[in-house]
Symmetry: C2
Subunit: 445 residues, 2 copies
Amino acid sequence: MPSHSRPSAPHKASDETMMITDNVQLSRRAESAGGNPIGYLMHQALSRPELISLAAGFVCQETLPVEAMRKANQLVLASDQQARQALQYGTTAGFAPLRQKLLERTVDADRQSLAVSPHTLDSVIVTAGSNQLLHLVSETLCDPGDIVLCGAPTYFVYLGALEGLSVRSHGVATDDGGIIPEAVELALEQLDAAGELPRVKAIYVPSYYDNPASTTLAIHRREQLVEIARRWSRHGRIFIIEDAAYRELRYYGEDVPSILSFDDRGDTVIHAGTFSKSFAPGVRIGWGILPKPLIQPLLNQKGNLDFGSPNYNQCLMNVVLEEGLLDEHIEKIRAGYRDKLQAMLEAAQEHLTPIADVHWLDVEGGLYVWLKLPRHMEAGVDEPLFHAALDQGVLYVPGEFCYPAEGVPVEKNSIRLSFGVQTPDRIRQGVRLLANAVRGLRLEA
Amino acid sequence: MPSHSRPSAPHKASDETMMITDNVQLSRRAESAGGNPIGYLMHQALSRPELISLAAGFVCQETLPVEAMRKANQLVLASDQQARQALQYGTTAGFAPLRQKLLERTVDADRQSLAVSPHTLDSVIVTAGSNQLLHLVSETLCDPGDIVLCGAPTYFVYLGALEGLSVRSHGVATDDGGIIPEAVELALEQLDAAGELPRVKAIYVPSYYDNPASTTLAIHRREQLVEIARRWSRHGRIFIIEDAAYRELRYYGEDVPSILSFDDRGDTVIHAGTFSKSFAPGVRIGWGILPKPLIQPLLNQKGNLDFGSPNYNQCLMNVVLEEGLLDEHIEKIRAGYRDKLQAMLEAAQEHLTPIADVHWLDVEGGLYVWLKLPRHMEAGVDEPLFHAALDQGVLYVPGEFCYPAEGVPVEKNSIRLSFGVQTPDRIRQGVRLLANAVRGLRLEA
């Protein structure tokens, strides 16, 4: 299989460090773990505060749930006895009342019933954000050299985690309905023909307003993917890792049932959720709903790592759910993000549409707009556009970071814009500055 | 090198799970990660609440810092702006003001000065308890088959983590002054002679009131160990992993400087600390102070895993330090644990001393008393003593769990007793019941 190396950020801190690591021998795992490419971008943003960063995928700071946290803290700390329980160690799987609520909430959102769900309390594990769940699952399923199929483009932090585990990310074509089942099927056929099917352990699918392209997996594709994963599990089970991190950030349209809801036997789909987008990243609570045979192996890994996520934070989130504070908060932030999204799309319409060959997908939720630039205009950090944008005063994430190491080739003329952090005015200004940079290069060419 | 397999708990949950994992292929890492042996014990304790558990290494629930948490939460959430910052993502390394305080606190305790310390803010990483630090360090330094030298006995959770990484734990003799430098030297000589020196990556040393034997590393041994680690770093650097988790739980005697304080070049010692013992495990905040060349590789690992520990919890602990709440709390719990320790030692004196060949070390801090039973009386979960103790109504941790996989042979006639959780009365009763069990078996023999 051809492999294209993922771009890495220039001047990584690790390069400097290497010079003083004489006589220090790191593990193979440590050697293959690259720095987060976005680290370089964040450094740019921090060292030049005048820049309008449309790069960071942070949530809107202004609407973080201060009042809800005050109330939740008060409730958790109200009685001495309950407070002490929250301050003690919990179990590795997590606080049972919270896990039960997470399961019920997911089943409810899917308009199903716990009575017929293959999942129970024991299917749920609380983790440090959904990111830890993705990492634990990947290291539990994959040896170095194993393969995870991913959409192209996909969530670059997960690609970095796979790289750190020496797991091969294999890119599959996507369109505005998310990852294309026929393309998954084709990739599996090709890998099978190459004798590599036994190495395929999972298909990673962000299913709602994904990062970076903001596409939501079409509903009929959800059922199809479960069927495909099962049918190709000849050598060993191929799991679907469903990343539902952005499910609650819906500004238009209707919610659709999760891929999990199509896994009637509960043997195929690993469902990852998080409060980092819908509530507050600073609390770092995510979760997984998993096929039963994966639970104990995952708990073994998590037990070795951290004994379980902070009990206090889990008690807080339990109260947040119990008191309806989460749903209140989600209603509030939806309105704010809808305004920001609208500002970005209007500015794009105004400033980018006039430039030939600049396109973007419709966006109904999430935090991102995925831009396609004119065909030969590359957007990487070493390319003229990136520096022209910096000169204009705007920062973006080059789309090339979001492509798996193998499979579908990298489209270097792509950009991820985030609308989560900046105000509508700054968003409009940022898009206008970016359009200036693109237009300037078009004129030069 | 001879290897003795570590005992595992009977009827592990993973055995059951294996039966339904058909067609599920786990990674080698997942296959080698055993369940926590203490899981079985905790299950016993939970399913028989009438048992007096002297097993769990939990801190005393009654003295968990409810008031301090109320105050810290109020302060963090007082201003909307500061609260929002706490609820946002932080950096992977952690909240800078907290890291600075952790460094200063350590340097102060060591009666040194930051001006001459080789460590700076950049040397400090905040983790999910000290346990995550130990795990990250081990997976950053060690490939499968590599070796970490450990005292025998030592912290069994760390042994489990090494086993999960397929890293060989190699036991070295200890006495009441902790790990014996001459024994470390001898082990290194033997490993060198066997051509295995290049595989030795670290020496793990709990340096204060360790778990399980409650020994504190003698001060002159601290300097010696640094010298030994450096001298044997011919093939690659051998680090000392100093686990200072129990440093603050001192009930008698004087504090001694950390091993870190003898690492004048800052190139040898990895220092791990935690608030789980001194404040509250439910907050799950620990930290490491590390040689600079390890920082970026560790951040890469942690970035892939969880992006950094919960920012909110770090802001809380920052305020707890700032307001002097930690030191207040430590003073309070010291008095309580001192009473519990005294209850355990007096009961041992009364009930166990009359039994020939039962011994224990002096204890000045921590949460444990390490018992040596008559020579042929084995204490494992499948042995008569364990069941006799359960019949009497008392639960303990068999000492055999605390022995590394290689090196110094397991002493199966040892027991770890914890005095953290139970009241002084229940502790006295528990020790009396244990003495009954031991005496019963002696009479039978």
